[in-house]
Symmetry: C2
């Protein structure tokens, strides 16, 4: 058993406390320790083959945040939140990325990279196939969304507020960060920090259908 597991109610209280913050308190900053833990939660996220085909851009420069605002439907979370993360997914996967992952695996586990030949064949057979290659960006975006889901839950458990943000112009973000030249594209964003006491959305009742509408037991 996980030696540090929490109770069902501790989990659910945190998930019920969570909401998509509209108004962050710009004076409240996430501590370095807590932010480091949230970055670790991103790094520890699960992904297809473990390949983690993404990067997390943490935008700390206020001038860059200001530059993103008009490309984010002027949503103030972009400039007011303590931290702002842009999830960038890979748009290309080649043998290079696969071999780099296999070397990392071999090094981490003290294996010869040759012992991973079978895995290599499986990975290249899947990822370098024509069928897969046309959907690399979409596949990478899905993996980034796992990390987003994990981040939202992790933040809630640490008492950090968040707002997942799909309302931005990816092409403009890509241009600001020169992502296409690096083989990446922006897929989703997340603002994190602490809710303003004046955010009226904080006290609105959470809207959820009856469990039986979403969960079907077969």
């Amino acid at each position: 058993m996980n030696p540090t597991s929490i109770s069902n109610s501790q989990l659910l209280d945190s998930l019920r406390w969570r909401y998509a913050v509209k108004q962050f308190d710009p004076t409240k900053k996430i501590s370095d320790d807590t932010w480091a833990a949230l970055e670790d939660s991103l790094v520890l996220s699960a992904s297809s083959f473990g390949l983690q085909p993404y990067r997390f851009l943490v935008i700390s420069d206020p001038a860059v945040r200001a530059k993103l605002l008009p490309h984010s439907w002027e949503q103030n979370q972009v400039v007011d939140a303590s931290h702002y993360v842009v999830f960038a997914g890979r748009t290309q996967m080649t043998e290079k990325e696969i071999d780099s992952f296999l070397h990392l695996t071999a090094n981490t586990r003290g294996q010869a990279v040759d012992s991973l030949k079978g895995l290599r064949g499986m990975m290249t057979g899947s990822i370098l196939s024509d069928k897969f290659q046309v959907n690399v960006a979409q596949w990478a975006a899905l993996q980034a969304y796992i990390a987003l889901g994990s981040l939202l839950t992790s933040a809630a458990l640490l008492g950090v507020d968040a707002c997942p943000m799909e309302g931005f112009v990816p092409a403009e973000y890509d241009r600001v960060f020169d992502l296409p030249a690096q083989g990446y594209a922006s897929v989703v964003c997340c603002a994190l920090g602490y809710r303003a006491s004046t955010d009226k959305y904080a006290t609105l009742k959470k809207v959820r259908p009856a469990k039986a509408e979403l969960v079907k037991t077969i």
Copy 2:
């Protein structure tokens, strides 16, 4: 502040304890209470506009699990895990789904549905646009992956093991559950339960690049 928040190390110890289980102990079942909490965590997941364009199919019938096995590359997690969830995303979004959501919102919050006219205009303008309509299934899949990420993290925190599974034949799953006729398509699966003591993957070192390779501060 979230009154039930946990410590950074409690979160990270759980995330490090997590791994993609290859071999579940078929004799160990998740308790009803804990499973109810995990279903709640799915229902509480964040989504675009709050629309939750998905369903979670919990496959408890062993005969149905057995039927899925050949469509899941014979991965035994499908039959051995305590619980097996198929995430099905919507393939169509019409005014009906939007209005149903707005009625739920109005009912939940004791508002007149007319007071949500502005929101309705924004939602229909976005979701019913040609640009959006060609990508409904992809958008719904992304939202389902947020729920998957949240589920993986929630399960780890409750001491429940899991294995996210993309290795299945969606068209065959769709056929088994008659999903196309209902406007859904299977997008991803997750097996949950408890690791077998013989699963050699449990003790392998987690493979992760240096944080600086994934997280870039700008």
